[in-house]
């Protein structure tokens, strides 16, 4: 539980001559759930992309050796004109695309059942799934091959509230049962309080890092989101961590 799986030190990102992130430092331990919060345009998604090497960055990003990462980007919708089935989408994770093994299908059935999807969905076109089904599929997809770390960029953007709850409970279960480290970008503070042990607040620069109860003071929230007080947290009796 105590080994650091990721150490970030002094990371800055400049895109098209504009500074998007400046001097971000934090670390994540194995099995921890870290929520990354901040207003729109704060650089949350860019931070995840920098961690994955998808955008160029300065500073040091050190992943533990041999760590296997699963990633779900924000608002990813496959092109409707590509006749891709759910099975084929999942087969992207298998080296045997044309002749997959029975073991791989057994593994898929297991991952699909965890996220509450039936195996009949394998024959459906990816573009025909509802927002909630697709997000569950993305979790199953990210979990295929049992990664050590999951990176989620607003996993519930654009889906209804009921499905949102289910997705967070699935993520929480995976973290508890498999010891998967979870890095989660979210704008919903009640989710942060309920499901994450640590929170990283950014608004282009680093604002705070620590346990939600310790660092999310009214002063910090004002520094993150401005004076509007738009994001209120109400103590949640169902909190599980």
């Amino acid at each position: 539980m105590n080994e650091p799986v990721l150490q970030v030190s002094g990371v800055s990102v400049v895109l098209d001559g504009e500074s998007v992130l400046e001097d971000i430092s934090f670390s994540v331990r194995k099995g921890e759930a870290l929520a990354i919060i901040g207003p729109n345009g704060a650089g949350k998604s860019v931070l995840l992309k920098a961690l994955l090497g998808l955008v160029p960055s300065q500073g040091s990003i050190m992943w533990a050796k041999g760590v296997h990462i699963g990633y779900v980007p924000q608002r990813f919708h496959p092109d409707r004109t590509i006749p891709l089935t759910v099975k084929e989408f999942l087969l992207f994770k298998s080296p045997a695309f044309w002749r997959p093994t029975k073991d791989f299908f057994a593994h898929l059935d297991h991952e699909l059942s965890i996220v509450g999807l039936k195996k009949e969905i394998l024959g459906h076109h990816v573009s025909d799934l509802s927002g909630g089904q697709f997000q569950r599929l993305m979790i199953a997809w990210a979990m295929t091959g049992h990664p050590d770390v999951l990176l989620f960029d607003e996993p519930t953007a654009g889906i209804d509230v009921g499905a949102e709850e289910t997705i967070y409970s699935i993520l929480h279960r995976l973290q508890k049962e498999r010891g998967t480290t979870v890095l989660l970008v979210s704008h919903d503070l009640s989710i942060v309080y309920r499901y994450s042990q640590h929170v990283l607040c950014i608004n282009k620069k680093m604002i705070c890092h620590g346990a939600p109860e310790d660092v999310l003071t009214p002063g910090d929230l004002k520094r993150i989101y401005g004076e509007t007080g738009f994001y209120h947290h109400h103590e949640d009796p169902t909190r599980t961590t």
Partner: protein
């Protein structure tokens, strides 16, 4: 004529299959017009080869591979839309080709013919077409994944060079098919089988397989039809392909109604 026909039919089937296989990805990458225009770059290659009394095949191959690298580079490095650069580069190629290729060669260069090939070249063409088809199938997971989501493909060990690989494979297919189908129509042989397959395929894997099979059938039937009616094979192949496409529209309607 018999030997020429058998030779043309063999080339048509294997090059048609290779065109269909790579065409499946050209259509998904929305590069149909870029690919079509790329084939025109062969014309200055033919002109230079004729001027220097060289075999046009190798010059065409060199020009097309060079053009594929230029297109890929422009796509990545410039802020101009790729299609604008492609439009400029390739209409210039067409203009240079028309002005420099001797009149008696121009029709065959543009619309193809029944080529008289040395055995070594025939073997190279057949081997290259079969090799390309196998290569496309081996790379199809990675290519499809990168087309669906470049980001996810990169995180999962994808290759940033997939775009270049598709273009280089396409350029080689055009080079080996150009003597039969011609520079103006070769692009169509990569687009039409994939368009037909897309209308009838329930999944991505069946789409790639059917595009390959339709490529072989359309090109083979086109060559047979051209030999039977005594016309050029290039236009006949395209018209057979268009007929197949019109038939496939019926399947598309039925699939939509069934949804």
């Amino acid at each position: 004529m018999d030997i020429l026909f058998v030779q043309a039919l063999l080339i048509a089937i294997v090059v048609g299959a290779a065109s269909g296989a790579v065409g499946a990805f050209i259509i998904l990458r929305r590069m149909a017009l870029v690919g079509d225009a790329l084939s025109h770059v062969a014309l200055p290659g033919i002109a230079l080869a004729l001027m220097w009394s060289l075999d046009p095949f190798w010059m065409v191959l060199a020009f097309l591979l060079g053009a594929a690298v230029v297109v890929w580079f422009c796509e990545r490095q410039t802020t101009l839309p790729a299609e604008a650069i492609v439009g400029l580069l390739f209409t210039a190629s067409l203009a240079i080709g028309i002005l420099t290729i001797p009149d008696h060669e121009i029709l065959e260069s543009l619309f193809g013919g029944f080529p008289k090939l040395p055995v070594s070249e025939l073997i190279f063409i057949l081997g290259a077409a079969i090799g390309i088809t196998v290569l496309v199938f081996m790379l199809s997971r990675r290519m499809l994944f990168t087309i669906v989501s470049p980001e996810l493909a990169k995180v999962n060990g994808g290759n940033a060079l997939v775009g270049l690989i598709v273009l280089l494979i396409f350029a080689t297919v055009v080079a080996i098919g150009i003597k039969l189908v011609g520079t103006l129509l070769m692009g169509a042989l990569t687009i039409i089988p994939a368009a037909v397959a897309k209308n009838v395929s329930p999944s991505a894997r069946s789409y790639i397989v059917l595009s390959t099979v339709f490529g072989a059938i359309i090109a083979g039937a086109g060559v047979a039809g051209a030999a039977w009616s005594g016309v050029l094979p290039g236009p006949t192949i395209v018209l057979v392909g268009i007929a197949a496409f019109l038939i496939s529209l019926g399947f598309l309607g039925r699939r939509r109604a069934g949804q």
